[in-house]
Protein backbone atom coordinates (compact mmCIF):
# COMPACT_ATOMS: atom_id res chain seq x y z
CA UNK A 1 0.00 0.00 0.00
CA UNK A 2 1.67 3.21 -1.14
CA UNK A 3 1.03 6.39 0.80
CA UNK A 4 1.72 9.51 -1.25
CA UNK A 5 1.80 13.10 -0.05
CA UNK A 6 -1.91 13.73 -0.73
CA UNK A 7 -2.92 10.63 1.18
CA UNK A 8 -0.60 11.56 4.04
CA UNK A 9 -2.15 15.05 4.11
CA UNK A 10 -5.65 13.53 4.25
CA UNK A 11 -4.66 11.34 7.21
CA UNK A 12 -2.84 14.17 8.97
CA UNK A 13 -5.95 16.33 8.66
CA UNK A 14 -8.11 13.57 10.16
CA UNK A 15 -5.59 13.23 12.99
CA UNK A 16 -5.30 17.00 13.53
CA UNK A 17 -1.54 16.86 13.11
CA UNK A 18 0.43 19.71 11.59
CA UNK A 19 3.28 18.74 9.23
CA UNK A 20 5.44 20.76 6.85
CA UNK A 21 5.93 19.30 3.36
CA UNK A 22 9.31 17.70 4.09
CA UNK A 23 8.05 16.02 7.25
CA UNK A 24 4.92 14.87 5.44
CA UNK A 25 6.96 13.28 2.65
CA UNK A 26 9.15 11.51 5.20
CA UNK A 27 6.07 10.26 7.02
CA UNK A 28 4.53 9.03 3.76
CA UNK A 29 7.67 7.01 3.00
CA UNK A 30 7.81 5.48 6.47
CA UNK A 31 4.14 4.59 6.41
CA UNK A 32 4.51 2.97 3.00
CA UNK A 33 7.31 0.77 4.30
CA UNK A 34 5.46 -0.21 7.47
CA UNK A 35 2.21 -0.92 5.63
CA UNK A 36 4.23 -3.04 3.19
CA UNK A 37 5.16 -5.26 6.15
CA UNK A 38 1.58 -5.28 7.46
CA UNK A 39 0.21 -6.33 4.06
CA UNK A 40 1.37 -9.91 4.84
CA UNK A 41 -1.85 -10.21 6.86
CA UNK A 42 -3.56 -10.66 3.49
CA UNK A 43 -1.92 -14.10 3.20
CA UNK A 44 -3.84 -15.48 6.14
CA UNK A 45 -6.96 -17.57 5.61
CA UNK A 46 -9.40 -16.11 8.13
CA UNK A 47 -12.51 -18.04 7.10
CA UNK A 48 -14.50 -18.71 10.24
CA UNK A 49 -12.85 -16.00 12.29
CA UNK A 50 -14.74 -12.88 13.22
CA UNK A 51 -13.53 -9.38 13.98
CA UNK A 52 -14.95 -9.33 17.49
CA UNK A 53 -14.92 -12.30 19.81
CA UNK A 54 -15.90 -11.94 23.42
CA UNK A 55 -19.11 -12.91 25.13
CA UNK A 56 -18.79 -10.32 27.85
CA UNK A 57 -20.91 -7.21 27.90
CA UNK A 58 -19.74 -3.98 29.49
CA UNK A 59 -20.65 -4.17 33.17
CA UNK A 60 -23.19 -1.57 34.26
CA UNK A 61 -23.51 0.27 37.53
CA UNK A 62 -26.36 2.03 39.26
CA UNK A 63 -26.83 5.60 38.06
CA UNK A 64 -25.85 7.19 41.36
CA UNK A 65 -24.00 10.47 41.63
CA UNK A 66 -20.56 10.34 43.22
CA UNK A 67 -17.70 12.72 43.70
CA UNK A 68 -15.66 13.69 40.68
CA UNK A 69 -12.16 15.03 40.25
CA UNK A 70 -10.84 17.89 42.36
CA UNK A 71 -11.53 21.07 40.40
CA UNK A 72 -8.46 22.93 41.63
CA UNK A 73 -6.31 20.11 40.34
CA UNK A 74 -7.97 20.45 36.96
CA UNK A 75 -7.56 24.23 36.92
CA UNK A 76 -3.87 23.93 37.71
CA UNK A 77 -3.28 22.05 34.46
CA UNK A 78 -5.47 24.21 32.24
CA UNK A 79 -3.58 26.19 29.57
CA UNK A 80 -6.13 28.98 30.02
CA UNK A 81 -8.82 29.06 32.71
CA UNK A 82 -11.33 31.63 33.90
CA UNK A 83 -14.06 31.26 36.51
CA UNK A 84 -14.33 27.51 36.15
CA UNK A 85 -14.15 27.46 32.35
CA UNK A 86 -11.44 26.46 29.89
CA UNK A 87 -10.78 29.49 27.68
CA UNK A 88 -10.40 28.80 23.97
CA UNK A 89 -10.27 30.88 20.76
CA UNK A 90 -13.60 32.08 19.41
CA UNK A 91 -15.55 29.21 17.89
CA UNK A 92 -18.60 30.91 16.45
CA UNK A 93 -17.79 32.44 13.08
CA UNK A 94 -17.63 36.07 12.01
Amino acid sequence: MKIDRDEARRIADLAHLEFDDAALDRMAGEMTKILGYIDQLNEVDTIGFEEHGGNEATPMRADEPRSSIDRDGVAANAPKWRDGFFVVPKVIGE
Binding site: I11, L17, Y37, T46, V74, P79, P89, V91
Partner: protein, 463 residues
Protein backbone atom coordinates in the same frame (compact mmCIF):
# COMPACT_ATOMS: atom_id res chain seq x y z
CA UNK B 1 24.54 0.09 51.88
CA UNK B 2 25.34 -1.36 48.44
CA UNK B 3 24.82 -4.88 49.77
CA UNK B 4 21.35 -3.95 51.00
CA UNK B 5 20.18 -3.00 47.52
CA UNK B 6 21.48 -6.28 46.10
CA UNK B 7 18.89 -8.06 48.25
CA UNK B 8 15.27 -8.67 47.32
CA UNK B 9 13.05 -6.32 49.35
CA UNK B 10 11.51 -9.46 50.81
CA UNK B 11 14.84 -9.97 52.62
CA UNK B 12 16.10 -6.40 52.92
CA UNK B 13 13.12 -5.26 54.97
CA UNK B 14 14.19 -7.58 57.79
CA UNK B 15 17.61 -5.97 57.91
CA UNK B 16 16.95 -2.26 57.71
CA UNK B 17 14.49 0.29 59.02
CA UNK B 18 12.00 1.82 56.57
CA UNK B 19 13.81 5.15 56.94
CA UNK B 20 17.16 3.49 56.28
CA UNK B 21 15.83 1.66 53.23
CA UNK B 22 14.43 4.76 51.54
CA UNK B 23 17.62 6.70 52.38
CA UNK B 24 19.72 3.91 50.86
CA UNK B 25 17.66 4.06 47.66
CA UNK B 26 17.93 7.84 47.42
CA UNK B 27 21.71 7.59 47.91
CA UNK B 28 21.92 4.91 45.20
CA UNK B 29 19.89 7.10 42.85
CA UNK B 30 22.30 10.00 43.45
CA UNK B 31 25.29 7.74 42.87
CA UNK B 32 24.17 5.83 39.77
CA UNK B 33 21.47 7.76 37.94
CA UNK B 34 23.83 10.39 36.46
CA UNK B 35 25.18 7.53 34.28
CA UNK B 36 21.83 5.78 33.68
CA UNK B 37 19.24 8.60 33.40
CA UNK B 38 16.39 6.34 34.50
CA UNK B 39 14.59 9.04 36.50
CA UNK B 40 12.45 11.93 35.27
CA UNK B 41 11.56 13.02 38.81
CA UNK B 42 12.74 11.94 42.26
CA UNK B 43 10.73 12.25 45.48
CA UNK B 44 13.36 13.64 47.86
CA UNK B 45 10.76 13.67 50.62
CA UNK B 46 9.63 10.08 50.06
CA UNK B 47 8.32 8.66 53.28
CA UNK B 48 9.98 5.73 55.08
CA UNK B 49 8.93 2.35 53.73
CA UNK B 50 9.73 -1.35 53.55
CA UNK B 51 8.72 -1.17 49.87
CA UNK B 52 10.36 1.72 48.03
CA UNK B 53 9.05 1.63 44.47
CA UNK B 54 9.19 3.72 41.30
CA UNK B 55 6.54 4.37 38.67
CA UNK B 56 6.87 4.64 34.93
CA UNK B 57 5.93 8.21 34.10
CA UNK B 58 2.66 7.26 32.42
CA UNK B 59 1.26 6.15 35.79
CA UNK B 60 -0.38 8.87 37.87
CA UNK B 61 0.73 9.86 41.36
CA UNK B 62 -0.49 13.23 42.62
CA UNK B 63 2.73 14.45 44.25
CA UNK B 64 4.89 14.08 41.13
CA UNK B 65 4.49 15.13 37.49
CA UNK B 66 3.08 12.64 34.99
CA UNK B 67 4.64 13.58 31.66
CA UNK B 68 4.65 10.35 29.63
CA UNK B 69 8.09 11.67 28.54
CA UNK B 70 6.24 13.95 26.13
CA UNK B 71 6.54 17.68 25.53
CA UNK B 72 2.76 17.76 25.30
CA UNK B 73 2.48 16.85 29.01
CA UNK B 74 5.65 18.53 30.19
CA UNK B 75 4.11 20.22 33.25
CA UNK B 76 1.13 17.99 33.88
CA UNK B 77 0.30 16.97 37.45
CA UNK B 78 -2.47 14.45 37.83
CA UNK B 79 -5.25 15.41 40.28
CA UNK B 80 -5.73 11.74 41.15
CA UNK B 81 -3.62 8.65 41.90
CA UNK B 82 -3.68 5.56 39.74
CA UNK B 83 -5.59 2.80 41.54
CA UNK B 84 -2.45 0.64 41.49
CA UNK B 85 -0.62 3.46 43.27
CA UNK B 86 -3.40 3.90 45.84
CA UNK B 87 -3.22 0.17 46.58
CA UNK B 88 0.55 0.32 47.01
CA UNK B 89 0.24 3.25 49.39
CA UNK B 90 -2.35 1.37 51.46
CA UNK B 91 0.25 -1.38 51.92
CA UNK B 92 2.88 1.13 53.04
CA UNK B 93 4.84 1.44 49.81
CA UNK B 94 6.65 4.72 49.16
CA UNK B 95 6.93 6.25 45.67
CA UNK B 96 10.54 7.28 45.10
CA UNK B 97 10.16 8.77 41.68
CA UNK B 98 8.95 8.58 38.11
CA UNK B 99 10.95 6.79 35.48
CA UNK B 100 11.73 7.41 31.85
CA UNK B 101 9.88 5.78 28.98
CA UNK B 102 9.47 6.01 25.25
CA UNK B 103 6.98 8.84 24.74
CA UNK B 104 3.44 7.64 25.53
CA UNK B 105 4.86 4.12 25.90
CA UNK B 106 5.47 3.92 22.15
CA UNK B 107 8.82 2.27 21.64
CA UNK B 108 11.17 -0.56 22.52
CA UNK B 109 14.32 1.29 23.50
CA UNK B 110 13.57 4.39 25.63
CA UNK B 111 15.14 6.43 22.81
CA UNK B 112 11.83 8.03 21.91
CA UNK B 113 11.63 9.89 25.21
CA UNK B 114 11.46 13.65 24.63
CA UNK B 115 13.88 14.07 27.55
CA UNK B 116 16.59 11.72 26.27
CA UNK B 117 17.48 8.03 26.42
CA UNK B 118 17.96 5.92 29.51
CA UNK B 119 21.10 3.77 29.41
CA UNK B 120 21.47 0.07 30.05
CA UNK B 121 23.27 -0.48 33.38
CA UNK B 122 25.17 -3.45 31.86
CA UNK B 123 26.65 -1.27 29.10
CA UNK B 124 25.77 2.40 29.06
CA UNK B 125 26.31 2.68 25.29
CA UNK B 126 23.28 0.40 24.90
CA UNK B 127 19.56 0.74 25.31
CA UNK B 128 17.72 -0.59 28.36
CA UNK B 129 14.80 -1.56 26.17
CA UNK B 130 11.36 0.00 26.25
CA UNK B 131 9.03 1.39 26.70
CA UNK B 132 9.46 0.81 30.48
CA UNK B 133 13.23 1.22 30.17
CA UNK B 134 13.53 3.61 33.12
CA UNK B 135 11.89 1.26 35.61
CA UNK B 136 13.88 -1.73 34.32
CA UNK B 137 17.18 0.18 34.48
CA UNK B 138 16.41 1.56 37.97
CA UNK B 139 15.88 -1.95 39.32
CA UNK B 140 18.80 -3.48 37.39
CA UNK B 141 21.16 -0.75 38.61
CA UNK B 142 20.07 -1.52 42.17
CA UNK B 143 18.75 1.99 42.75
CA UNK B 144 15.38 0.67 43.94
CA UNK B 145 14.03 -2.84 44.52
CA UNK B 146 10.87 -2.56 42.43
CA UNK B 147 9.16 -0.59 39.70
CA UNK B 148 5.83 -0.46 37.93
CA UNK B 149 5.82 -0.27 34.18
CA UNK B 150 3.16 -0.74 31.54
CA UNK B 151 2.66 -3.29 28.81
CA UNK B 152 0.97 -2.90 25.46
CA UNK B 153 3.23 -5.02 23.22
CA UNK B 154 5.92 -6.18 25.62
CA UNK B 155 7.01 -2.95 27.25
CA UNK B 156 7.73 -4.47 30.66
CA UNK B 157 9.08 -7.86 29.59
CA UNK B 158 11.39 -6.61 26.84
CA UNK B 159 13.28 -4.01 28.93
CA UNK B 160 13.35 -6.47 31.84
CA UNK B 161 15.01 -8.95 29.46
CA UNK B 162 17.60 -6.46 28.21
CA UNK B 163 18.35 -5.33 31.77
CA UNK B 164 18.59 -8.79 33.34
CA UNK B 165 15.63 -8.47 35.71
CA UNK B 166 12.18 -10.00 36.14
CA UNK B 167 9.29 -8.42 34.22
CA UNK B 168 5.66 -9.45 34.55
CA UNK B 169 2.66 -8.74 32.36
CA UNK B 170 -0.54 -9.75 34.16
CA UNK B 171 -3.67 -11.10 32.47
CA UNK B 172 -5.59 -8.31 30.73
CA UNK B 173 -8.01 -6.94 33.29
CA UNK B 174 -6.07 -8.21 36.30
CA UNK B 175 -4.76 -4.76 37.27
CA UNK B 176 -6.85 -1.59 37.03
CA UNK B 177 -5.93 0.80 34.23
CA UNK B 178 -7.34 3.80 36.12
CA UNK B 179 -4.49 6.31 36.24
CA UNK B 180 -2.45 4.60 33.51
CA UNK B 181 -2.37 6.97 30.58
CA UNK B 182 -4.13 5.04 27.83
CA UNK B 183 -2.22 3.91 24.75
CA UNK B 184 -4.27 0.92 23.54
CA UNK B 185 -7.11 0.34 25.97
CA UNK B 186 -7.73 -3.24 24.85
CA UNK B 187 -4.09 -4.22 25.38
CA UNK B 188 -2.67 -1.99 28.15
CA UNK B 189 -1.82 -3.41 31.55
CA UNK B 190 0.36 -2.18 34.39
CA UNK B 191 3.28 -4.58 34.90
CA UNK B 192 5.93 -5.19 37.55
CA UNK B 193 9.74 -5.13 37.44
CA UNK B 194 11.87 -6.63 40.24
CA UNK B 195 15.10 -8.62 40.62
CA UNK B 196 13.36 -11.81 41.72
CA UNK B 197 10.18 -13.75 41.06
CA UNK B 198 9.10 -13.67 44.71
CA UNK B 199 9.18 -9.87 44.82
CA UNK B 200 7.18 -9.64 41.58
CA UNK B 201 4.57 -12.02 42.95
CA UNK B 202 4.19 -9.90 46.07
CA UNK B 203 3.90 -6.58 44.22
CA UNK B 204 1.41 -7.98 41.72
CA UNK B 205 -0.65 -9.30 44.61
CA UNK B 206 -0.86 -5.76 45.98
CA UNK B 207 -1.86 -3.95 42.78
CA UNK B 208 -4.18 -6.61 41.32
CA UNK B 209 -7.93 -6.69 41.79
CA UNK B 210 -11.24 -5.37 40.58
CA UNK B 211 -11.67 -1.61 40.39
CA UNK B 212 -15.09 0.01 39.85
CA UNK B 213 -13.24 2.86 38.09
CA UNK B 214 -12.05 0.48 35.35
CA UNK B 215 -14.91 -1.37 33.68
CA UNK B 216 -12.42 -3.70 31.97
CA UNK B 217 -10.98 -4.88 35.30
CA UNK B 218 -11.82 -8.43 36.29
CA UNK B 219 -14.04 -9.31 39.23
CA UNK B 220 -12.20 -12.61 39.62
CA UNK B 221 -10.57 -13.08 43.03
CA UNK B 222 -6.85 -12.38 43.23
CA UNK B 223 -4.85 -15.58 43.88
CA UNK B 224 -2.08 -15.89 46.44
CA UNK B 225 0.70 -15.53 43.88
CA UNK B 226 3.49 -16.51 46.27
CA UNK B 227 1.78 -19.70 47.47
CA UNK B 228 3.44 -22.14 45.03
CA UNK B 229 6.86 -20.52 44.58
CA UNK B 230 8.64 -23.47 46.20
CA UNK B 231 6.44 -26.24 44.78
CA UNK B 232 8.56 -27.08 41.73
CA UNK B 233 7.51 -28.08 38.21
CA UNK B 234 7.80 -31.86 38.16
CA UNK B 235 5.43 -33.25 35.56
CA UNK B 236 4.32 -29.82 34.33
CA UNK B 237 4.12 -29.43 30.57
CA UNK B 238 5.98 -26.67 28.72
CA UNK B 239 5.40 -26.04 25.01
CA UNK B 240 8.25 -24.47 23.03
CA UNK B 241 6.67 -22.33 20.33
CA UNK B 242 8.14 -23.89 17.19
CA UNK B 243 7.68 -20.89 14.91
CA UNK B 244 9.44 -18.67 17.45
CA UNK B 245 12.63 -20.70 17.64
CA UNK B 246 12.98 -22.36 14.26
CA UNK B 247 14.87 -19.42 12.74
CA UNK B 248 16.81 -18.56 15.90
CA UNK B 249 20.55 -19.04 15.81
CA UNK B 250 23.69 -18.27 17.73
CA UNK B 251 23.84 -17.30 21.35
CA UNK B 252 20.12 -16.61 21.83
CA UNK B 253 19.27 -20.08 20.52
CA UNK B 254 21.98 -21.76 22.59
CA UNK B 255 20.82 -19.90 25.68
CA UNK B 256 17.21 -20.93 25.10
CA UNK B 257 18.20 -24.54 24.60
CA UNK B 258 20.11 -24.39 27.89
CA UNK B 259 16.98 -23.03 29.62
CA UNK B 260 14.97 -25.94 28.23
CA UNK B 261 17.57 -28.33 29.66
CA UNK B 262 17.20 -26.72 33.08
CA UNK B 263 13.42 -27.12 32.97
CA UNK B 264 13.80 -30.79 32.05
CA UNK B 265 16.27 -31.26 34.88
CA UNK B 266 13.51 -30.07 37.24
CA UNK B 267 11.25 -32.84 35.97
CA UNK B 268 9.22 -30.78 33.52
CA UNK B 269 8.07 -32.16 30.18
CA UNK B 270 9.23 -29.85 27.39
CA UNK B 271 8.10 -30.35 23.79
CA UNK B 272 7.72 -28.29 20.65
CA UNK B 273 4.26 -27.05 19.76
CA UNK B 274 3.06 -25.15 16.73
CA UNK B 275 1.37 -21.77 17.01
CA UNK B 276 1.07 -21.19 13.26
CA UNK B 277 -0.27 -17.62 13.30
CA UNK B 278 2.36 -16.28 15.70
CA UNK B 279 4.53 -14.88 12.92
CA UNK B 280 1.81 -12.35 12.13
CA UNK B 281 1.61 -10.96 15.66
CA UNK B 282 3.69 -7.86 14.95
CA UNK B 283 1.62 -6.97 11.90
CA UNK B 284 -1.60 -7.43 13.89
CA UNK B 285 -0.21 -5.44 16.79
CA UNK B 286 0.93 -2.46 14.75
CA UNK B 287 -2.54 -2.05 13.29
CA UNK B 288 -4.67 -2.75 16.37
CA UNK B 289 -2.51 -0.90 18.91
CA UNK B 290 -2.01 2.11 16.66
CA UNK B 291 -5.73 2.26 15.82
CA UNK B 292 -6.58 2.43 19.51
CA UNK B 293 -3.76 4.89 20.13
CA UNK B 294 -5.04 7.26 17.44
CA UNK B 295 -8.32 7.44 19.36
CA UNK B 296 -6.79 7.64 22.83
CA UNK B 297 -4.30 10.37 21.95
CA UNK B 298 -6.98 12.61 20.47
CA UNK B 299 -7.55 13.92 24.00
CA UNK B 300 -4.20 15.76 23.81
CA UNK B 301 -5.60 18.78 22.02
CA UNK B 302 -4.26 21.78 23.92
CA UNK B 303 -7.64 22.53 25.51
CA UNK B 304 -7.83 21.12 29.02
CA UNK B 305 -4.24 20.23 29.90
CA UNK B 306 -0.79 20.00 28.44
CA UNK B 307 0.90 22.09 25.82
CA UNK B 308 -1.07 24.73 23.92
CA UNK B 309 0.71 26.40 21.04
CA UNK B 310 1.52 30.11 21.39
CA UNK B 311 0.88 30.58 17.68
CA UNK B 312 -2.71 29.36 17.77
CA UNK B 313 -5.27 31.93 16.58
CA UNK B 314 -8.24 29.68 15.87
CA UNK B 315 -9.58 26.59 17.56
CA UNK B 316 -8.28 24.49 14.67
CA UNK B 317 -4.85 26.02 15.21
CA UNK B 318 -4.98 24.97 18.86
CA UNK B 319 -5.50 21.36 17.82
CA UNK B 320 -3.11 21.14 14.86
CA UNK B 321 -0.29 23.24 16.24
CA UNK B 322 -0.36 22.02 19.83
CA UNK B 323 -0.26 18.41 18.66
CA UNK B 324 2.28 19.18 15.94
CA UNK B 325 4.60 20.83 18.45
CA UNK B 326 3.92 18.55 21.38
CA UNK B 327 4.19 15.03 19.95
CA UNK B 328 7.45 13.35 18.92
CA UNK B 329 8.00 11.64 15.57
CA UNK B 330 7.28 8.08 16.69
CA UNK B 331 4.01 9.10 18.36
CA UNK B 332 2.94 10.94 15.22
CA UNK B 333 3.86 7.93 13.09
CA UNK B 334 1.66 5.66 15.17
CA UNK B 335 -1.25 8.10 15.24
CA UNK B 336 -1.01 8.37 11.45
CA UNK B 337 -0.94 4.58 10.99
CA UNK B 338 -3.85 4.13 13.35
CA UNK B 339 -5.90 6.88 11.76
CA UNK B 340 -5.28 5.37 8.34
CA UNK B 341 -6.29 1.88 9.48
CA UNK B 342 -9.60 3.16 10.83
CA UNK B 343 -10.39 5.56 8.02
CA UNK B 344 -13.26 5.10 5.62
CA UNK B 345 -12.31 2.81 2.76
CA UNK B 346 -9.50 1.13 4.65
CA UNK B 347 -11.14 0.05 7.91
CA UNK B 348 -12.06 -3.44 6.77
CA UNK B 349 -8.89 -4.12 4.80
CA UNK B 350 -6.64 -3.13 7.71
CA UNK B 351 -8.33 -3.00 11.12
CA UNK B 352 -10.99 -5.58 10.32
CA UNK B 353 -8.45 -7.94 8.78
CA UNK B 354 -6.02 -7.55 11.68
CA UNK B 355 -8.80 -8.36 14.14
CA UNK B 356 -9.73 -11.52 12.23
CA UNK B 357 -6.12 -12.72 12.15
CA UNK B 358 -5.96 -11.90 15.86
CA UNK B 359 -8.98 -14.18 16.46
CA UNK B 360 -7.11 -16.93 14.61
CA UNK B 361 -4.02 -16.33 16.76
CA UNK B 362 -6.19 -16.65 19.87
CA UNK B 363 -7.49 -19.95 18.56
CA UNK B 364 -3.92 -21.22 18.01
CA UNK B 365 -3.08 -20.36 21.62
CA UNK B 366 -6.26 -22.04 22.93
CA UNK B 367 -5.30 -25.23 21.10
CA UNK B 368 -1.73 -25.12 22.43
CA UNK B 369 -2.92 -24.56 26.01
CA UNK B 370 -5.09 -27.67 25.80
CA UNK B 371 -1.89 -29.70 25.78
CA UNK B 372 0.53 -27.50 27.73
CA UNK B 373 0.52 -25.65 31.03
CA UNK B 374 2.91 -23.01 29.69
CA UNK B 375 4.30 -21.81 26.38
CA UNK B 376 7.91 -20.65 26.28
CA UNK B 377 10.17 -18.61 24.00
CA UNK B 378 13.15 -16.34 24.47
CA UNK B 379 11.80 -12.95 25.58
CA UNK B 380 13.64 -11.05 22.83
CA UNK B 381 15.38 -11.98 19.57
CA UNK B 382 18.61 -10.31 20.66
CA UNK B 383 20.36 -8.75 23.64
CA UNK B 384 20.61 -4.98 24.19
CA UNK B 385 21.50 -3.09 21.03
CA UNK B 386 23.48 0.14 20.84
CA UNK B 387 21.81 3.49 21.32
CA UNK B 388 21.06 4.86 17.85
CA UNK B 389 21.34 1.50 16.07
CA UNK B 390 17.67 1.22 15.13
CA UNK B 391 16.26 4.74 15.33
CA UNK B 392 16.47 5.28 11.55
CA UNK B 393 14.42 2.19 10.80
CA UNK B 394 11.10 2.12 12.68
CA UNK B 395 10.23 -1.33 11.34
CA UNK B 396 13.43 -2.92 12.65
CA UNK B 397 12.62 -1.42 16.04
CA UNK B 398 9.10 -2.93 15.95
CA UNK B 399 10.52 -6.41 15.38
CA UNK B 400 11.91 -6.39 18.95
CA UNK B 401 8.39 -7.19 20.13
CA UNK B 402 8.16 -10.35 18.07
CA UNK B 403 7.98 -12.74 21.06
CA UNK B 404 6.24 -10.44 23.50
CA UNK B 405 3.35 -8.96 21.49
CA UNK B 406 1.33 -12.20 21.18
CA UNK B 407 0.58 -12.27 24.92
CA UNK B 408 -0.80 -8.74 24.80
CA UNK B 409 -2.98 -9.52 21.79
CA UNK B 410 -4.42 -12.60 23.48
CA UNK B 411 -4.58 -11.07 26.99
CA UNK B 412 -2.64 -13.87 28.69
CA UNK B 413 -0.09 -13.35 31.49
CA UNK B 414 3.63 -13.67 30.74
CA UNK B 415 6.87 -13.31 32.65
CA UNK B 416 10.46 -12.61 31.58
CA UNK B 417 13.11 -14.25 33.76
CA UNK B 418 16.89 -13.76 33.47
CA UNK B 419 18.36 -16.75 31.61
CA UNK B 420 22.04 -15.88 31.42
CA UNK B 421 24.42 -13.61 29.56
CA UNK B 422 25.91 -13.44 26.08
CA UNK B 423 29.61 -13.16 25.15
CA UNK B 424 29.50 -9.41 25.75
CA UNK B 425 28.09 -9.91 29.25
CA UNK B 426 24.67 -8.66 28.21
CA UNK B 427 21.57 -10.27 29.77
CA UNK B 428 19.41 -12.83 28.02
CA UNK B 429 15.91 -13.84 29.09
CA UNK B 430 13.39 -16.67 29.09
CA UNK B 431 9.71 -15.91 28.58
CA UNK B 432 7.02 -18.08 30.17
CA UNK B 433 3.42 -17.54 29.01
CA UNK B 434 0.43 -19.00 30.86
CA UNK B 435 -3.33 -19.19 30.23
CA UNK B 436 -5.62 -16.36 31.34
CA UNK B 437 -5.52 -15.79 35.11
CA UNK B 438 -2.93 -18.54 35.66
CA UNK B 439 -0.42 -16.14 37.26
CA UNK B 440 0.00 -18.35 40.29
CA UNK B 441 1.21 -21.27 38.16
CA UNK B 442 3.30 -18.90 36.05
CA UNK B 443 5.14 -17.63 39.14
CA UNK B 444 5.61 -21.22 40.26
CA UNK B 445 7.31 -22.11 36.97
CA UNK B 446 9.43 -18.96 36.91
CA UNK B 447 10.54 -19.50 40.52
CA UNK B 448 11.57 -23.09 39.81
CA UNK B 449 13.74 -21.96 36.89
CA UNK B 450 15.17 -19.05 38.92
CA UNK B 451 16.05 -21.36 41.81
CA UNK B 452 18.18 -23.54 39.53
CA UNK B 453 19.97 -20.64 37.84
CA UNK B 454 20.09 -17.57 40.12
CA UNK B 455 21.25 -15.28 37.32
CA UNK B 456 19.69 -12.34 39.19
CA UNK B 457 22.54 -12.45 41.68
CA UNK B 458 25.05 -11.10 39.16
CA UNK B 459 25.07 -7.33 39.34
CA UNK B 460 25.94 -4.93 36.51
CA UNK B 461 29.39 -3.28 36.60
CA UNK B 462 28.31 -0.10 38.39
CA UNK B 463 30.86 2.30 39.80
Amino acid sequence: MTDLLDLPFTDARAQVSPRGYVDACLAAIDRHDPKISAFLSVARDAKPSALPIVLKDNIAATELPTTCASRILRNYKSPFDATAVARLRTKGASILGKTNLDEFAMGSSCEHSSIGPTRNPWDTTRVPGGSSGGSAAAVAARMVPAGLGSETGGSVRQPAALCGVVGVKPTYGRVSRWGLVAFASGLDQIGVVTKTVREAAEVLGIVAGHDPLDSTSSTRDVDDYAADLDTGIKGMRFGVVREAIEKLEGEVRANFDAAVAVLRSCGAIVEEVSVPTIGYAIAIYYIVANAEASANLSRFDGIRYGHRSDRAKTLEDVYFESRGEGFGAEVKRRIMLGTFALSSGYYDAYYGRAQRVRAKLRHDFDVAFEKYDFLITPTTPESAFEIGAKTDDPLSMYLNDIFTAPANLIGIPAIAVPSGFDKLGLPLSLQIMAPHFAERAMFRAAAAYERETNFWKRRPPLA
